[in-house]
Amino acid sequence: MRGWLLAVCCGFLAACAEVPLRGTGDLGLVVERASGQVAVIDTTAKSVLGHVAGLGDLSHASVVYSRDARYAYVFGRDGGLTKVDLLGQRIDQRVMQAGNSIGGAISQDGRLVVAQNYTPGGIKVFDAATLELLAEVPTQSKVVGLADLPGQKFAYALFDKGEIWVSDLSQPRAPRTQKYPAGQQPYDGLVTPDGRYYMAGLFGEDGIALLDTWRPELGVRKILQNYGKGQEKLPVFKMPHLRGWAVAGNQAYLPAIGRHEVLVVDKGNWQETRRIKVKSQPVFVMARPDGRQVWVNFAHPDNSWVQVIDTLTGEVVQTLQPGKAILHMEFSPRGEHVWLSARDDDAVLIYDTQTFERLASLPLPSPSGIFFSSRAARTGF
């Protein structure tokens, strides 16, 4: 009996030793797209703490965080929604919620998790604690660019219908939805850091659809219209992603479609102020948290390159070739480091954003998205 008790006590101690008391502010996840698992990483130690498996098809995946930054909600391609405990390095909850899914968002108060789906097209609303399904809004269209807005609202765009919808989930079981015409084939969307403006990039026409959510009665206006006027589009081998908004100071930096350019607009009047020539078709255009730099990665076949724009001069100041198939970039919370996933090198690379020196390379199989827990406190992430 005493031996048995001792064994149990040792078991408890061992369990405790596995999870030392610690915060989650410097943790994050890296999606290992080919193996259906995520790596839990530590941005201070620049190390991999462990892996969580069994998340299904992560060939396209995105992640949002609970407001306490302990749990990550992982939206997989196959419609799996998995709540991962960063500290326990285990799955807390998991549901299959659709046939083909693209991402999700979390409400301002952290109580609702919303998934955006291609098949069946629409959004689904879940209780963030239990993943119980609370409501759904069918769209009869693929949903792109879902973003959380203040006031328990969510904005999203309909690829097939060319509309922006805003659903008010202040009564989660009874969503109320406003619809706005947006333009041809919105491919992704973003909300500005203050939660005021929702933008949907258009693939079927040159321009961005802009909704001022403080003045929704004005409807959607188009900005950057005809930026490629009269010129044949270059082939787009990968759709740009607008998720990591790039707003630096008063300027917003956006990928052009079918042009090897980053477009810059003034946030005051939404007029184009500059075009910056870059190496290839931009995919992610992301501002370092302080806004001084904008990092750009590119579509196939130029996805081994990364360029850095100095927002003070509007010039490309650095061109790097960090590795093969750079799919995603994520800044440390205050931007001193950037983590890059090099899918075809099976590595995540960590760079100093000031010196552009490589600080570390972490071996991880087929890494894609990198998501740090500091996203928990940011609107639109």
């Binding site: 291609y118 082939p235 787009v236």
Partner: protein, 147 residues
């Protein structure tokens, strides 16, 4: 020549905006080349073999099979899904493509589909490669084998 219908259907008509739809004639020429290519290849059952020994226009170059499989899974996969079950792009599974001709698919691969997000891959893929991809898609595309 039923393959042409892929292009001449409603898809094409709507699309006037971006430099208008291609005239059918060059596509027909490409198809003819593909047909001749098929004839030339008919002695070889395995299209997967790099057709380096062949004369004519089909073999722009021998191509790397693992790299081609990887390109389809990873790069076509960024729109069509790594499992090819669809994403922003349509599904490319055997079931979804049933009834299509490989020649028509190869043309879509090389020249894209106007009015959709499907780009022309002709700057990156040879005709032989596109034809090989089309045929493999129709029979269920092979998985990637990574070392």
């Amino acid at each position: 020549m039923h393959a042409v219908t892929v292009y001449s259907g409603g898809q094409c008509k709507k699309l006037s905006r971006i430099k208008a739809a291609r005239p059918l004639l060059p596509q027909a020429a490409v198809m003819m080349r593909n047909w001749f290519g098929m004839l030339a290849l008919s002695g070889m059952q395995t299209l997967g073999m790099p057709p380096a020994a062949l004369a004519g226009e089909v073999q722009k170059s021998a191509f790397d099979l693992p790299a081609t499989i990887r390109l389809v899974r990873q790069d076509c996969g960024s729109c069509h899904g790594m499992t090819l079950q669809g994403g922003l792009g349509t599904p490319l599974t055997r079931e979804a493509l049933a009834g299509q001709s490989p020649e028509a698919l190869a043309i879509v691969i090389l020249h894209g589909r106007h009015g959709t997000a499907m780009p022309p891959w002709k700057s990156l893929l040879s005709e032989a490669q596109a034809q090989w991809i089309a045929e493999r898609l129709l029979e269920g595309f092979p998985e990637e084998k990574r070392q």
